[in-house]
């Protein structure tokens, strides 16, 4: 009887944490909304300088998109493994997710480095301010996610796959999927739109 009570107490606590994290993700989406709104309003203010059309490389962005999408997929598979209690599979699939995430980050940093090298920085004009902020904030979230992933995987390696770890991985996967969803809109509104 006590065991069942304790379990339902745990279940209720889990449910609360999932819900709370979901609401947090909604607030994060709203912050991105402001950045999107600012980008939409200011992206035309290039003062005659180069626009996205002149500077973005669609093939590079397509690569980034496919990499991130795949990492979202492998993250999902990792979660199936986690719920099945399979520690090695978890490490494998989340390891792949981590690697893909790093690759995405690398490509993005490369893109930024190129732009800065050509003299376009956040201080150049309103278009670049909003571009670097919107895409850069997404990148910062990716970095946070990777850091979170690395630490969680280390803990899984050391402490094994207990229920706390599975819960953490679930929250992490929510976060990771959500980052891919935000990227869909960056891909569309920032990059594709520049060429419309």
């Amino acid at each position: 009887m006590a065991h069942a009570l304790a379990e339902s107490h745990e279940e209720a606590a889990n449910d609360r944490v999932m819900f709370g994290f979901w609401v947090y993700l909604m607030t994060d989406l709203l912050m991105f909304a402001v950045l999107f709104a600012v980008y939409a309003v200011l992206q035309g203010n290039t003062l005659g300088g180069p626009t996205g059309r002149d500077l973005f490389s669609l093939p590079l962005v397509l690569a980034e998109t496919l990499i991130l999408l795949t990492s979202s997929f492998t993250c999902g598979i990792g979660m199936i493994a986690a719920r099945a209690g399979n520690k090695n599979q978890v490490l494998t699939w989340f390891g792949i997710t981590f690697t893909l995430g790093l690759m995405f980050l690398g490509l993005e940093l490369y893109e930024f480095a190129e732009l800065i090298h050509e003299g376009h920085t956040i201080t150049t004009n309103a278009f670049f301010s909003s571009f670097f902020t919107l895409v850069g904030t997404h990148g910062l979230h990716i970095i946070s996610g990777l850091l979170w992933m690395a630490i969680t995987l280390i803990y899984v390696l050391k402490r094994g796959l207990n229920k706390h770890m599975v819960r953490k991985l679930t929250l992490l996967s929510l976060f990771w999927h959500f980052l891919d969803i935000v990227w869909i809109f960056i891909f569309t509104i920032v990059y594709l739109r520049a060429f419309v």
Partner: protein
């Protein structure tokens, strides 16, 4: 209750993904990434139609990932997650579309370019960023138009661009000089109406060429015109 021997947290039933849902979600997302990419690169659709299409497909891909990766809607009731998600989407639309619409509408009465032009005229700034603004650099002749006892003298004034014109009121009542044919209340070079008290005058710079009517909006019979020659 869970029948497994592992002490794993009991997820609300139905909340899990199966391999099935992830694979379908992945393949559909790949498809809906490739389609807009191809459409943009091949330029087979253009303009607003293209924009609407890629935005629509983005929303579609988001829905796919929300359903197949995040399993929204498959948890236990009450479905607070769904409610929060839908309302967040609504608010995002208000924030983004609202901002775009409002910021554009702020130029409804006067665009940014017009504001700059008006300011340049007023302050006599003749060039901005290497380009001429067309503002008058200093003024030339001054023309006086006197309003007295219901008469405008002179009735017609001819002036050159960048001259000034002064409306002088020598009657007892206040006069509201505005431009255009009564009852219109047009503006000339940003001046909408000039309130001239008894014994006073108001001067404006003639920096727009053409012929313009003016009248006293309070007594529309009192009217005249002036021509500005470049």
């Amino acid at each position: 209750m869970s029948k497994t021997s592992h002490h794993l947290p009991d997820h609300p039933k139905g909340d899990h993904g199966t391999m099935h849902s992830y694979i379908i979600g992945f393949l559909l997302s790949l498809l809906f990434t490739a389609i807009p990419y191809y459409l943009v690169v091949s330029k087979s659709v253009t303009g607003t139609a293209l924009l609407a299409t890629i935005l629509g497909i983005a929303v579609l891909q988001m829905a796919i990932q929300i359903f197949f990766f995040l399993h929204l809607g498959r948890g236990p009731k009450p479905l607070y997650n769904v409610v929060f998600f839908v309302s967040t989407v609504g608010i995002i639309l208000v924030v983004v579309l609202g901002s775009i619409f409002i910021m554009d509408n702020l130029q409804y009465n006067m665009t940014g370019a017009e504001v700059n032009k008006y300011l340049a005229q007023k302050e006599g700034i003749s060039q901005l960023g290497g380009e001429k603004t067309g503002a008058c650099q200093g003024t030339n002749a001054n023309h006086k138009v006197t309003l007295k006892s219901g008469k405008v003298s002179p009735l017609h004034t001819e002036a050159r661009l960048c001259d000034t014109i002064t409306f002088i009121n020598e009657d007892d009542m206040v006069r509201e000089i505005t431009f255009g044919q009564h009852p219109k209340h047009d503006a000339y070079s940003g001046n909408n109406d000039l309130l001239v008290r008894k014994g006073r005058g108001k001067t404006i710079t003639l920096n727009q060429p053409g012929t313009y009517k003016f009248h006293d909006h309070l007594n529309p019979d009192i009217a005249g015109d002036f021509t500005v020659i470049p």
